[in-house]
Amino acid sequence: MDTVFYTLQDFLLHSKSVTYVLMGLGLLLYVFWWWFLTDKDEKKRLF
C-alpha cells in the first residue's frame, strides 16, 4: 500500500473496491463453509 491518496474520494474508491471483492469472496466462503459444516449431517439435504 505505497499508493499515496490525496483525496478522501480516491482513498474510498480504493478501499471500497477492495471491500466489494472481499464481500464476494466472503459470501462464497459462507457457502463452502456451510457445506463443510453440514456435509456429514445429512447427505441429502445439502442446502
Partner: protein
C-alpha cells in the same frame, strides 16, 4: 443545520447495531489535504462588472454552439440564468439590500472532494492533480446521479441528444492548463475579477485583500471549507447567500456524507448469512424436534390405545365369563328344578 448534518450515522438494523461513522472514521485517523500545488481560481465579486466577457471566452475556447443572445447583450442579466448543456458559465446580477447590483460568475467549483465523483457509479468524474474535476463521456451511462449529488447544481445534461447524450460542465480549461495557459474566462476578464493560481496561493491572496480592505470584504472565503472545500473560491462584500451561494451546505464533503451508509454494506453482506443461516438451522431443528415429538406422541397414543383396548377386552371377557357362568348356573338350576318337578310329577 450544517453542524447537525456533520454528525452522520450509518445505521444497520440487526438487533439495532449502529455503526457510527464520520468521514474521518471511514479513513481511520488519516486525513487528506488534496493534491499539492493543485490549481484554482479566485473570484472577487467586488471587481466583477457583469460584462459577460468570460462567458464569451468560455464559449469560444470550448467550441460551444453560439447562444441565442449575443454575448454583448447585457439585458440577459435581468433574468436569473444557470449553466446548461451549451453554457459552462453564466454571470448573474443580484440586487442587494446594501445598494447596487453585485455580479457573480457561476461555473463548476471543482470541489476538493467532488460530490459528482463520489456519486458517479462508473468513475466518470475524477479530481485531477491539476485541480480540475474531469469528466469522461466514454463511460458515462447517463443516470444523472451526479446532477442529483452536486450541491451547486452544476452538471447539465444533453437532454435533446437521443443516442449519445453527455453531461456537460466547466472543465477549468484543463487542456489549456496542461499547456501552461490560463483558463479562457480568466484570460478574458478585463477587471481581474478572476485570479488563477495554486489554491494555497489564492487563499493567501484572498486573506490579504480582506485584511487590506476590511470595509470592502466580508471576512469569509467561500469555498475554503464549504462541502469539504472547492478549488474555485469566492470573496465578496455582501453575504454570499445574497449572490446565490448557499451558506447552508455544511462543511462535510460528499464522501463523508455517504461513507457511513457504504460502511454498512459489508456489515450486511458479512453478517446476514450467518444470522439467517442460524435462524434457518434453529427452525429446521425445531421442525425436526416437532416431527419427532409428533411421532413419539403418535406412538404413545397408539400404545396407550392398544393397552386400553386390551384391558377393556379382558375386562369384557371376564365380565362375559361371569355372566356366562351365572347364566349356566341359572340354566342348570332351572334344569334341576324342572327335573325335580318332573320327578315329583312322576312320583305323584
Amino acid at each position: 443545520m450544517s453542524i447537525k448534518r456533520r454528525t452522520f450515522l450509518g445505521l444497520i438494523g440487526a438487533a439495532g447495531v449502529t455503526v457510527a461513522s464520520t468521514g474521518a472514521r471511514a479513513a481511520g485517523n488519516a486525513h487528506f489535504d488534496g493534491y499539492p500545488g493543485s490549481k484554482g481560481v479566485l473570484f472577487d465579486a467586488t471587481r466583477c462588472i457583469g460584462c459577460r466577457k468570460c462567458e464569451a471566452a468560455c464559449n469560444a475556447v470550448n467550441e460551444l454552439p453560439a447562444p441565442a443572445e449575443k454575448f454583448d447583450d447585457l439585458t440577459v442579466l435581468d433574468r436569473s440564468r444557470r449553466t446548461d448543456a451549451k453554457t459552462f458559465t453564466v454571470v448573474n446580477k443580484y440586487e442587494t439590500p446594501s445598494g447596487g447590483p453585485v455580479y457573480r460568475k457561476m461555473q463548476c467549483n471543482h470541489c476538493l472532494e467532488p460530490a459528482c465523483a463520489s456519486a458517479c457509479f462508473v468513475k466518470a468524474f475524477a479530481k485531477t492533480p491539476e485541480g480540475a474535476v474531469s469528466y469522461d463521456a466514454s463511460v458515462c451511462v447517463g443516470c444523472r446521479y451526479c446532477m442529483i449529488a452536486c450541491p451547486f447544481n452544476i452538471p447539465t445534461y444533453e437532454y435533446d441528444e437521443p443516442l449519445s447524450p453527455r453531461v456537460r460542465k466547466c472543465t477549468m480549461c484543463r487542456p489549456r492548463i496542461l499547456e501552461g495557459r490560463l483558463p479562457g474566462c480568466v484570460e478574458a476578464c478585463p477587471k481581474e475579477a478572476l485570479t488563477f493560481g495554486t489554491r494555497d496561493e489564492l487563499i493567501k491572496i484572498a486573506r490579504k485583500r480582506i485584511e487590506k480592505y476590511p470595509d470592502r470584504y466580508l471576512d469569509h472565503i467561500y469555498g475554503e471549507r464549504e462541502m469539504g472545500g472547492t478549488s474555485w473560491l469566492y470573496i465578496s462584500g455582501v453575504p454570499f447567500s445574497q449572490i446565490g451561494l448557499r451558506e447552508d451546505l455544511g462543511y462535510a464533503s460528499a464522501p463523508e456524507l455517504t461513507s457511513g451508509a457504504l460502511a454498512a454494506v459489508p456489515v450486511v453482506a458479512g453478517l446476514w448469512p450467518a444470522l439467517l443461516g442460524g435462524l434457518w438451522a434453529i427452525n429446521k431443528r425445531k421442525e425436526k424436534i416437532a416431527r419427532q415429538e409428533k411421532r413419539e406422541a403418535v406412538e404413545n397414543a397408539v400404545a396407550r390405545a392398544s393397552a386400553e383396548a386390551e384391558s377393556k377386552l379382558s375386562a369384557a371377557l371376564s365380565k362375559a365369563e361371569v355372566e356366562n357362568r351365572r347364566r349356566i348356573e341359572v340354566e342348570v338350576k332351572r334344569a334341576l328344578e324342572e327335573a325335580g318337578l318332573n320327578d315329583t310329577k312322576e312320583e305323584g
